[in-house]
């Protein structure tokens, strides 16, 4: 029987393992994406004892069960032995975090291989994501090269699974990029949503329409009618809005919506369905602000259904 939420609707629960050696940055990134933390407060986080489990509701009825596994050798050994079944069974996603500045990359790889071995046995269908983390600590010119080297070695060790690698840092938008991709993977029916967004974008004659998940501001879907050059723009927007939301909380206000413009564009960011925010970019000066606001209102209900069917 499927678990249900309080309204009696079916819930889908995905078990996500977050692993990596001690101090790799697992708890920091989880706190920033899911628990409303500022990057600059991450230094307050202390090491994770054993496994810290949290449930995150995403898009209403998708529940991520996040297992943040403390990375000290002592705990790691237990995961592979006494707790093996408990940890590695029924895993949908493994996110393995490598500290790019680690002095013992071979040791890190060894633990990674041990994880894969346990998964082959207990969750052979799991999807693997590897994050090469703390990239901000490398000089800009070194980043791509070092990342490719590490990636090669990781791919070499990954047998029997598909793996996606990302370079990340809590100090910039790369963290959002990686997690958006991970979430994207968990939403198999997102194509329908994309089709509908495309239609909506054409109807209102916008340059671009983007859907964000409401609490994390991760990108769920988008349509780009003009072909924008900046590949990282959505993650940047996520980052900007999330920062602003956090500053609001400190000052006892709550963010609701915004309009930003200059001679070249107008951007609308507003509450949309019960679990999403929408961003609309317009460069045609003849389009009225009120018209956009009305269009957002008018399509809300229609999209409500599509969003909740995307997983």
């Amino acid at each position: 029987m499927q678990p249900q939420n309080q309204d009696g609707e079916p819930e889908k629960i995905e078990k996500v393992l977050l692993m990596g050696r001690m101090s790799a940055g697992k708890t920091s990134m989880r706190s920033i994406i899911f628990a409303n933390y500022l990057a600059r407060d991450a230094y307050r986080i202390t090491f994770t004892h054993d496994v810290s489990r949290s449930r995150v509701r995403f898009l209403g009825n998708l529940v991520l069960s996040l297992w943040d596994c403390g990375g000290q050798d002592l705990f790691m050994v237990q995961y592979f032995q006494s707790q093996r079944e408990h940890i590695f069974k029924n895993v949908q996603v493994l996110i393995y975090v490598f500290d790019v500045t680690s002095k013992d990359f071979n040791g890190d790889l060894q633990y990674y291989e041990n994880c894969l071995e346990a998964l082959t046995e207990l969750s052979p269908k799991a999807k693997i994501f590897c994050l090469v983390h703390k990239m901000d600590l490398l000089a800009e010119s070194q980043r791509e090269k070092t990342f490719q080297e590490k990636r090669m070695k990781i791919v070499e060790k990954t047998k029997g699974f598909e793996v996606d690698c990302f370079k990340t840092s809590i100090w910039d938008e790369t963290l959002y990029k990686a997690w958006s991709q991970i979430v994207y993977f968990l939403l198999p029916n997102v194509k329908t949503l994309e089709k509908n967004l495309e239609q909506f974008c054409q109807t209102i004659n916008a340059d671009e329409v983007v859907l964000f998940e409401r609490s994390t501001f991760l990108v769920i879907s988008h349509h780009d009618a003009k072909g924008h050059e900046d590949m990282h723009r959505f993650e940047k927007i996520s980052n900007i809005i999330k920062q602003f939301k956090l500053s609001c909380i400190k000052t006892s206000f709550q963010f609701q919506s915004m309009v930003v413009r200059n001679q070249k564009f107008t951007a609308f960011i507003d509450e949309f369905t019960s679990s999403t925010y929408i961003m609309i970019i317009v460069s045609d000066p003849d389009i009225e602000q009120e018209a956009i606001a009305l269009n957002i209102k008018a399509t809300k209900d229609y999209f409500e259904g599509i969003v909740s069917n995307s997983f």
Binding site: R40, K236, C248, M258, N262, Q263
Partner: protein, 302 residues
């Protein structure tokens, strides 16, 4: 530069100079002196610097619990400068009060009081009477911008007129609070005469960040390098009160001059009169221009 990037700064070894001139009417020069350099009344360059100086900003590291030494040094600086130019105002930043030593507001106040008392004593011993102000600051929150704003405002003779105009604007348009910002430095040049609440200043300056960051993505010109803040730059952000109150507020930003933005806090109930507010802001814009022009002409006459 963001706060965490400052970890990589090396100690300054010689005096560095910066020009702030984002707007043609608001220009000044910052001279950043290394901690170990002394100002001498025998050095011609130093004398020139002191003569042209409007405000002397002295930074004390609040983590160093020993304040005697930096305060004595400040007294010596004041003594030297006062003899050459008695119009300088002295501003003391008690800095890095974000650290674990200062978790409680009381601890900050104690530190402030200690230093204030000590400076009073030291200056009395030498019979020096100067204008001396103290600020608690940190680069990890908005205190550094707020304090710097106040220092700069003392140096701009037009601030009084501009504030009076803002007072006028907010009473005509039912605005609760308004700041005139330099969008590059996020220093506010003027505000209305109501007291400044830190949270209002913070949220307004965050809005400028959002505007500039989003404009950098979607508002860029083919001619790269041009400013993203232009004549049409504006922003409306709606906020709920977190305390369960039904009231909503609107943050409204408008460009009013090169690199200058007016940011207003308005109760949402009043915001339907946006055209009236816009009209009043246009009037304010004109007034601002006139004040700046008058100041420029006055300078020419001198």
């Amino acid at each position: 530069m963001s706060p965490h990037e400052t970890f990589f700064l090396t100690p300054s070894s010689k005096m560095e100079q910066f020009q702030i001139d984002n707007n043609p009417y608001i220009q000044f020069q910052i001279k950043d002196f290394p901690g170990n350099q002394e100002l001498k009344e025998t050095n011609a360059v130093d004398i020139q610097t002191i003569k042209g100086c409007g405000s002397l900003l002295y930074v004390i590291d609040a983590q160093q619990q020993e304040y005697e030494q930096p305060c004595t040094k400040l007294r010596d600086i004041i003594k030297t400068c006062h003899a050459i130019n008695n119009k300088i105002s002295y501003d003391v930043f008690i800095h890095k009060v974000d650290t674990d030593m200062f978790l409680l507001d009381d601890q900050k106040m104690d530190c402030l009081n200690d230093i204030q008392e000590l400076m009073k004593q030291l200056l009395m011993d030498y019979n020096l009477s100067v204008s001396l102000s103290f600020y608690l600051t940190s680069i990890y929150d908005h205190t550094i911008y707020e304090s710097l704003s106040k220092v700069i405002q003392k140096l701009l003779p037009q601030v009084g007129f501009i504030s009076a105009m803002i007072d006028n604007l907010i009473s005509n348009s039912k605005i609760e609070k308004a700041f005139l910002f330099d969008v590059i430095s996020k220093i506010y040049i003027a505000t209305d005469s109501n007291p400044v609440e830190m949270k209002h200043y913070e949220i307004c300056s965050e809005l400028i960040d959002v505007l500039i960051d989003v404009s950098c993505i979607y508002g860029i010109d083919e001619h790269a390098g041009t400013l993203k803040f232009d004549k049409e730059s504006s922003s409306i952000i709606k906020l709920n009160h977190a305390g369960g109150s039904e009231e909503k507020i609107v943050l409204y930003l408008r460009e009013v001059d090169k690199c200058l933005a007016l940011v207003c806090l308005i109760n949402e109930r009043e915001f339907h009169k946006q055209h009236l507010i816009n009209y009043n802001i246009d009037k304010f814009k004109e007034g601002l221009r006139k004040i700046f022009e008058a100041a420029k002409n006055a300078k020419k006459l001198q």
